[in-house]
Subunit: 197 residues, 2 copies
Amino acid sequence: MFSPLINELIAALRILPGVGPKSAQRMALHLLERDREGASRLSTSIAESLTRVGRCEQCRNLSEQSICSICANPRRDNQLLCVVESPADVIAVESSGTFNGKFFVLHGKLSPIDGIGPAEIGMAELEAIFSERKPREVIIATNPTVEGEATAHYIVEKARQYSIKVSRIAHGVPVGGELEYIDGTTLAHALNSRREI
Amino acid sequence: MFSPLINELIAALRILPGVGPKSAQRMALHLLERDREGASRLSTSIAESLTRVGRCEQCRNLSEQSICSICANPRRDNQLLCVVESPADVIAVESSGTFNGKFFVLHGKLSPIDGIGPAEIGMAELEAIFSERKPREVIIATNPTVEGEATAHYIVEKARQYSIKVSRIAHGVPVGGELEYIDGTTLAHALNSRREI
């Protein structure tokens, strides 16, 4: 019922995660009716990001520099490496405020059924770090899903070949969570990883 | 914690209605990591819409043509005019499937406190339609808010000057709604506008 260009804008907005037909329509009308300046800024920003944002040569995180600000920071521990699945996970770990090492971003997880093997998640680059930088410890922070665990296992095997200490972040009851609402698998993890006090 | 360009992209995405900091971050990473093609399409689509989409000269609805497809449609009743606040309302009325007249889009409602007077909502254009096209009936479909009612009242006064019949869409219990959950004002409207059966 809209004109073709507006329909195309609505369709284009639907590629955003969590945006359905109604939200897309609302967004399109908002951009065209109420915030043309913001819309223009958004269009430019997307275009510029697409052209200039690539991957950090060391950690594979998204960055417009060839070496990202974390990798370039001389005050961060070069011998401590945290392996995560995505750039969002880097932010999550950073927000904990307790990690001062470097990262390695897989951009995925091993999933043969989707055609994602070691090459797609940068295993060659990770192995190069293992052999050249020889980290003191590798912390694996992939998600506790089947693929995440398989990826973790694969990295553990690789790290052992270089005699590097490997650890996995703890899985258990979230701080502030109530036992009543925690699923059985998480509780099983929490019980098995219990610590003496 | 992101690089400057990604931070700018996240900030730019936040102009979209209903998008908070977390969603904007998720959208930015989605665009850069998983759907660069879609992102490029979105950027182009926004830019093109901004350049080409303006207002229909007759009904003020958003359109890339000078006369929109509804106004240009010879099979629509030119003597029946529905006045709505926004392009989204045109879609809403169209989806009812029972209206075959033309529209007039105010792009707002009278709100002196926000500096929105008759000129801002196209009253001169509406009066021109009243005097030239002389519609048989004007249906006022502004929202039942204080400003919407004030706007409706203003239009009624204008239409009376040209001896045009004016009507207001009915306000009452939505079809499928349950009395129990309807607010008092709506029920008062529904009772006052009751029809003999």
